[in-house]
């Protein structure tokens, strides 16, 4: 049997096979997400290369504010480090107070990331109907990333709460899976930042 729970509804790490399923699926999600990112990348490069009606990036349309964008990158990296530490601690089964702190730190990083990104999107100095397609792609891409950050933050919160309230001890597979997701999204957001800021 691949899992002990007869109903198969508790697909949890620490359950033989369950952890495997979790990691495997989390990586599938990353693969699927990659298609989404590549589609946006294609839109970015295609429209940029052709510059239809010379309306790719008309003069007067700026780029997202540099400082906020950098902060929005720094915070997730903090989260990555924290989650890396969490993953190591969990896999080496160390006592959980450090884990709790690290989890809170990571969660704080995600929340701040979301807040900064929302602020960032308010700072865009363009209206979509007349700013050319650079603004369109940038807005859409930042919106998609924001949504994904929020999604991972929710997942992380459920882990934190489960761990804090002791309803569910954090397993190595879970820790590794969320670390991978977080790292992936952070990497994507860095790439997007470089494109939006310097390939405008």
């Amino acid at each position: 049997m691949s899992e002990v729970s007869p109903t198969g509804l508790t697909v949890i790490d620490d359950v033989k096979g369950g952890g495997h399923t979790l990691i495997f699926t989390s990586r599938l999600v990353i693969a699927s997400n990659t298609t989404l990112q590549l589609s946006l990348l294609f839109a970015f490069l295609y429209l940029r290369a052709n510059n239809f009606g010379s309306m790719w990036h008309p003069s007067g349309v700026g780029t997202p504010p540099q400082v906020l964008a950098l902060i929005a990158l720094a915070l997730p990296i903090v989260g990555v480090v924290a989650l890396l530490a969490v993953s190591n601690a969990v896999s080496s089964a160390r006592e959980s107070s450090a884990v709790t702190g690290l989890l809170w730190l990571a969660f704080l990083a995600t929340v701040l990331t979301g807040a900064v990104r929302i602020l960032l999107m308010y700072q865009f100095n363009w209206t979509l109907n007349s700013a050319g397609t650079y603004a369109d792609v940038a807005t859409l891409w930042y919106a998609v990333l924001l949504a994904e950050f929020i999604g991972v933050a929710a997942w992380l919160l459920s882990l934190v709460m489960g761990h804090v309230r002791g309803t569910d001890r954090l397993g190595s597979a879970h820790a590794r899976a969320i670390l991978e997701q977080w790292t992936y999204i952070t990497g994507v957001s860095i790439a997007v930042y470089l494109l939006i800021q310097y390939a405008s």
Binding site: E3, T7, L9, L28, F52, L128, N129, T133, T139, G162
Partner: protein
């Protein structure tokens, strides 16, 4: 919160009702929010208020779908987890799984893949027949070269509704019912990897279909199922239904793909290596990869179009820096794998059923699987053959012509497998066998018409004509839907314990088969003689052929509703009891008792072999000597 079983259960019992209430509330709230605050975000106000507000409609649809799911109780678990609630107990899970049995579990959120399979079957059949109605009206309208029963507006609404609804439902017509129902059984699993996710993928389907149908109240949309921009930017609010419907369907395809892959690759019985996995499971695996990797491209395109319609972004408008080619590329990068999402499960289902009627092992199983994998891989490399006349990238045409024609190699293999299996077999012509034969016949025509479209010079004459329309109806309806009917006749005894009047079905089969071919052979001729798709008016000299197509089509509609009539009468009303294993199949799904135990196996098989050992007569699963039943099952 899900940790209080009594409350959760009492709410869950009324899931469907609460869901509808939630949908209404969600739509009202979403429309208010969207047409109010959000619509002025970024300083762009959507269309004039006399047209209603695009942001309002979009957000209204989104929130009504969310409200529906919330009412169904999908968010209890995740929200509970957000607050660190305890995991549901096994008892809760068993309840959610529908262990209590009863008819009620078919009308609420259940995590039993068998219940979900039945839900899929019913909902998809319902929507398929609604879509068929559209076809009936289109053909009736086309009896005359000038508008008769419908005006230009209504006709385009009908075309859009028929095509889009059919595409929605065909995306899961075989994976939905049979994939969900039988894959876990065939691989010796007690459940899917993510049962709640599986329930979600199903319950996204009715909202998508209803949102699409609601377009008639918003004036319909005139773009057909391809939704080409910039016409889509120009459309009235009806377009938003198309976009939101497609967004939900894309989500459903991607999620069910992820779930199926995870289930097949990580939840297989330890004793079952990939080499001994049933061929239908293989086809589901290939299809799931297509869905999981292609659907996000559609979601990206739909997001861009939603941005264009709400905030007047210019992704697809040249004057604003966009390009119609962007939509065409993204849409068809999803759209071409999509057509194999339709057909590959049909391959698998047919190859799964064939040995039971040939009374022989599946011949050339490995190459058959290789063929399906090959189709899957190639389908990502051919999308621009839809754009041969669009003027895009002429230098790439030879490549796409080549890759497209290459697809006929792996599909040819399927025919080889069928021929080899039937070769010197003791074939039984059971009713499903007739539909299987029709599948091969129709798909053969579909494939050979495809050759003409893949070749650029001939495509310049045939593109966007009724030849194309007949071609994909031969592959999707002649292929997938005939396989679906075969599967229904074949698997109903297992899924419901009841059967249909096989004799009557044979007449029904010949009626469907002949009228179907009569319709679409006429349309092939119409296309070659130069009639464009989606025209309400056509040249007078095309009327005879169109009339023959229409008359055959109406007869086809009648014979299809005969199928529905037999199904309803025999299975729902008369409840004709079926034999335990009417086809004397050796598959494991026929070894488990009917109705299938809640957790599929009272005892787990100890060893597995291929499900088609008709030479030795050894069944797929060996349950070994009697052992005590597993606890909890």
């Amino acid at each position: 919160m899900s940790t209080r079983p009594t409350l959760a259960r009492r709410l869950n019992e009324w899931g469907l009702l609460l869901g509808l209430v939630g949908a209404v509330i969600g739509f009202i709230a979403g429309y208010a929010l969207g047409s109010g605050a959000i619509s002025n975000f970024y300083g762009a106000g959507g269309e004039p208020t006399s047209l209603g507000s695009d942001p309002g409609i979009i957000l209204g649809y989104a929130m009504s779908a969310a409200g529906f799911l919330a009412g169904m109780g999908f968010f209890n678990y995740p929200i509970g987890r957000l607050f660190g609630a305890k995991r549901p107990t096994e008892e809760d899970n068993a309840y959610l799984h529908g262990e209590s049995g009863g008819l009620g579990r078919y009308f609420r959120m259940t995590t039993d893949h068998k219940v979900i399979g039945m839900q899929y079957l019913v909902v998809i059949l319902a929507f398929l027949f609604i879509g068929g109605l559209g076809a009936m009206f289109i053909r009736t309208e086309l009896l005359t070269p000038v508008p008769s029963i419908a005006n230009a507006q209504s006709y385009l609404s009908l075309v859009g509704l028929h095509s889009t609804l059919m595409i929605f439902m065909a995306s899961t017509a075989i994976i939905g019912p049979f994939g969900n129902y039988f894959v876990p059984i065939m691989i010796g699993a007690r459940n899917m990897a993510f049962p709640r996710l599986e329930a979600l993928t199903f319950w996204l389907l009715p909202p998508a279909g209803l949102i699409l149908l609601s377009t008639v109240f918003l004036g319909g949309f005139t773009t057909g199922w391809t939704g080409y921009a910039p016409l889509a930017d120009q459309n009235v609010l009806g377009m938003d239904s198309y976009l939101m419907g497609f967004a939900l369907i894309g989500l459903s395809i991607a999620l069910s793909g992820l779930n199926m892959i995870a289930t097949i690759l990580t939840k297989r019985a330890p004793e079952m290596p990939l080499s001994r996995m049933p061929v239908f499971v293989w086809s589901v695996l290939v299809t799931s990869f297509l869905g999981a990797l292609a659907a996000p491209a559609l979601i990206a395109a739909v997001l861009m179009e939603i941005f264009s319609r709400t905030y007047q972004a210019t992704f697809f408008i040249p004057a604003g820096g966009g390009s119609p080619y962007l939509w065409e590329n993204l849409f068809w990068f999803f759209g071409h794998p999509e057509v194999y999402i339709f057909v590959v499960p049909a391959f698998g289902l047919v190859m799964e059923m064939l040995p039971a009627f040939a009374r022989k092992p599946l011949w050339g199983r490995r190459v058959g699987i290789g063929g399906m994998v090959g189709v899957g891989v190639l389908s990502f490399l051919v999308w621009q053959h839809h754009l041969f006349v669009s003027g895009i990238a002429p230098s790439l045409r030879p490549f796409y012509m080549f890759s497209t024609e290459m697809i006929s190699v792996p599909t040819g293999i399927i025919y080889l497998v069928a021929l080899g299996t039937l070769w010197r077999a003791r074939t039984r012509f059971g009713t499903p066998m007739l539909f299987i034969f029709a599948f091969f016949f129709n798909f053969l025509i579909g494939g050979f018409t495809g050759v003409f479209l893949s070749d650029v010079p001939s495509d310049f004459s045939l593109h966007a004509s009724y030849f194309v329309q007949a071609h994909f109806h031969y592959t999707i309806m002649g292929g997938e839907v005939f396989a679906l009917m075969a599967g229904i006749v074949y698997y109903l005894p297992k899924m419901t314990g009841r059967t249909m009047d096989i004799k009557l079905l044979r007449y029904q089969f010949w009626a469907v088969f002949l009228t179907f071919n009569g319709t679409f052979i006429s349309l092939i001729a119409v296309g070659i003689m130069g009639m464009p798709r989606r025209d309400i008016s056509y040249a007078a000299y095309l009327q005879p052929l169109n009339d023959s197509a229409s008359i055959f089509a109406l007869a086809l509609g009648l014979s299809m509703s005969l199928f529905l009539g037999i199904l309803i009468w025999e299975v729902v009303i008369k409840q004709r009891v079926a034999a335990a294993n009417p086809w004397e199949s050796l598959g494991v799904e026929w070894q488990v008792p009917t109705p299938v135990p809640t957790f599929n196996f009272d005892r787990m098989p100890v060893s597995w072999s291929l499900p088609d050992n008709y030479d030795t007569g050894q069944p797929a699963a060996d349950f070994g000597p009697a052992v005590p039943a597993l606890s909890g099952a």
